[in-house]
Point group: C2
Chain length 367, copies 2
């Protein structure tokens, strides 16, 4: 038998029940039936989940490490999530805290296509954080979004992403939107020499997304925003492999509230499946992640890991220009600073505000 | 502007902050930027989410109804979930309780392909609940699973589903598994005249699932288990449309803990996208749903609704034969009773236990 996946859960229980609870998770995430009903020794020894450790971490809260058979997952991206947390995600009082993945699983997934070095090369941003704006509100026609994109590019921003709510709506169809925005960015690049990287949002099923990517590539656009939980994890993993020259930025929408620890979810699993940049809710914004969670997530994005390229943490969610120095001190240079609504809300001062944003990021002394 | 989607959230807040919180959700689920930064009147009037009602339901807990623009969703299944709960799913203290969908959204999705009448016709089960067993543990080779299937079929069970952990693993590849199990069920049918409906589990990406379905159809198997949150919501919706003669049973794995109220999630949204049967955790089993939640979910599956076929609630998760009368009294005839591990744990008595299960369900007096 090959090495096991070691999944770490945090479980609320009392001392009298934690052993049974741990065995219950080990069964739920493997054979999902009473072990006494199994007589095949290969299944009993090789497939049934194994409780490796139970340790109380705070009163009434336990760390439980469970060895899951690598064979139950294979190379399937969806099955990796299914076996790590599937049915257990519907149970109370248990979170998936971490996972140590054996070589066979790591080798089955590509990691980022271009990662941090690729995004730096494509934007010419070296030795500093990357700057990113967002195109919204949805409801604007492509021409309105293209005008915003052009004005942000004129301020020298590195990246512009679609709002994750922009799909293929009649008021802003994907192809028309990409054409207008690519045009606007080309025009700025012709004047300034700096080409802002545009990251349109993919939507629909796998075939629709393939079509969107092909159209975008034909317009020189080769980076994409994808929400793996909306699109489907296997769809995300498939696109990364089919378009190895493209970059993918993941969005956390619909992924629920931290039942899978964000450092694992975004920093490890999304990176493993191919995220070049991972958007997540920064501490102190509209969402509830702690500073420790954010730091661990960012470290997971950047760590040396199984030969996979590093990817860029992209803290977001109500960020403002006032927070630039603090965020850069906290996150350092290998980060994308994404400021969405707060820049757009400056209206006619948009280009100047973006220029100030870019200047602050460039002038920051990274420790 | 067309009629809006009315999304109902349950929000934890105090009286002083609930109005701001409600406006925050309305913005988060629509334009996701400061409204004061928007000057386009079409966006302000037609796209920005609208707070329709705030009502305290218990001290410190509010019902908030928000009108979301139908245009932001269109006919895209993934976008429906994204706009109903996307970013809000990452925030603390807020659940998606319900959604009233306007005609344009309802008309964009097909509902079940064959629904309750189709599943009754294909199994010959009329005027009573349907019986369902599960194939596990994973790790067994196809021949072992086929032997279990044959023995359950010999007991007269209506449906046999794969464990949701069965994917396309080397120890039990999909095509080989379907071939062996279809063979075993054919043999029983040749003796008994009753053909048990087999529901294999789909895995991988959209293309892989298409291939699995085509192979199964070639073997006379035309009902499938799919986990929409693992597979991807658009993948599920696509398969329902592409294979209109097939039935789909949904599995809730990885869908998290009730942040989207289960009666809405499974009883409405999965049905709307095409579930003919929806598996969910029954009250009193290994999971935490209340009896009220289970009853409302089942009622949503069966309600007259926009001309969509009704689908069959499939309560599961640690069910035993001892609970049959109680569950039938609770759920009535339009239900699938799924007993998985508890049947398999009877080992050499499996066929007799299944026969007793089938007899109890047939003999029950449905009120």
């Amino acid at each position: 038998m090959s090495a096991r996946i070691i999944a770490t859960y945090h479980v609320t229980a009392d001392a009298a029940s934690i052993e049974a609870r741990a065995r219950g998770i080990a069964v739920e995430q493997s054979v999902e039936m009473p072990v006494e009903g199994i007589d095949d020794p290969v299944v009993l020894n090789g497939i049934v989940g194994r409780v490796d450790e139970i340790r109380e971490i705070t009163p009434g809260r336990y760390r439980v490490r469970i060895g899951l058979a690598t064979e139950t997952v294979g190379g399937d991206a969806g099955q990796l999530f299914n076996m790590l947390f599937g049915n257990t995600s519907i149970q109370e009082g248990v979170d998936l805290a971490d996972a140590d993945l054996p070589d066979a699983i790591l080798a089955a997934h590509p990691g980022p296509n271009i990662g941090t070095p690729g995004l730096r090369a494509r934007t010419g941003a070296h030795g500093r954080a990357l700057t990113c704006g967002a195109l919204k509100p949805q409801g604007l026609p492509p021409e309105g979004l293209a005008s915003l994109a052009g004005r942000m590019a004129a301020g020298g921003i590195d990246l512009i992403k679609d709002d994750h709510g922009l799909a293929d709506q009649p008021y802003s169809p994907f192809t028309h939107r990409v054409d207008r925005i690519a045009e606007a960015l080309d025009q700025v690049a012709a004047r300034s020499g700096k080409r802002t990287l545009y990251i349109p949002s993919l939507s629909g099923n796998l075939d629709a997304m393939r079509g969107q990517i092909r159209h975008a590539i034909s317009r020189g656009v080769d980076a994409f925003l994808i929400a793996p939980i909306v699109a489907g994890i296997p769809t995300f993993a498939t696109l990364v492999r089919e378009f190895p020259a493209c970059a993918f930025m993941t969005h956390p929408t619909l992924s629920g509230i931290a039942r899978i620890a964000p450092p694992l979810f975004y920093g490890k699993l999304f990176r493993l499946l191919g995220a070049d940049a991972v958007v997540y809710p920064n501490h102190g914004g509209r969402f509830g992640y702690s500073t420790a969670t954010c730091l661990e997530l960012a470290e997971n994005c950047r760590a040396d890991w199984a030969g996979k390229l590093p990817c860029l943490p992209t803290p977001a969610g109500g960020m403002t220009t006032a927070r630039i120095p603090e965020m850069l001190d906290f996150y350092g240079a290998d980060t994308i600073l994404l400021i969405g609504g707060a820049l757009l809300a400056t209206r006619e001062r948009l280009t100047r505000e973006v220029a100030a944003f870019a200047a602050a990021v460039a002038a920051h002394r990274y420790s």
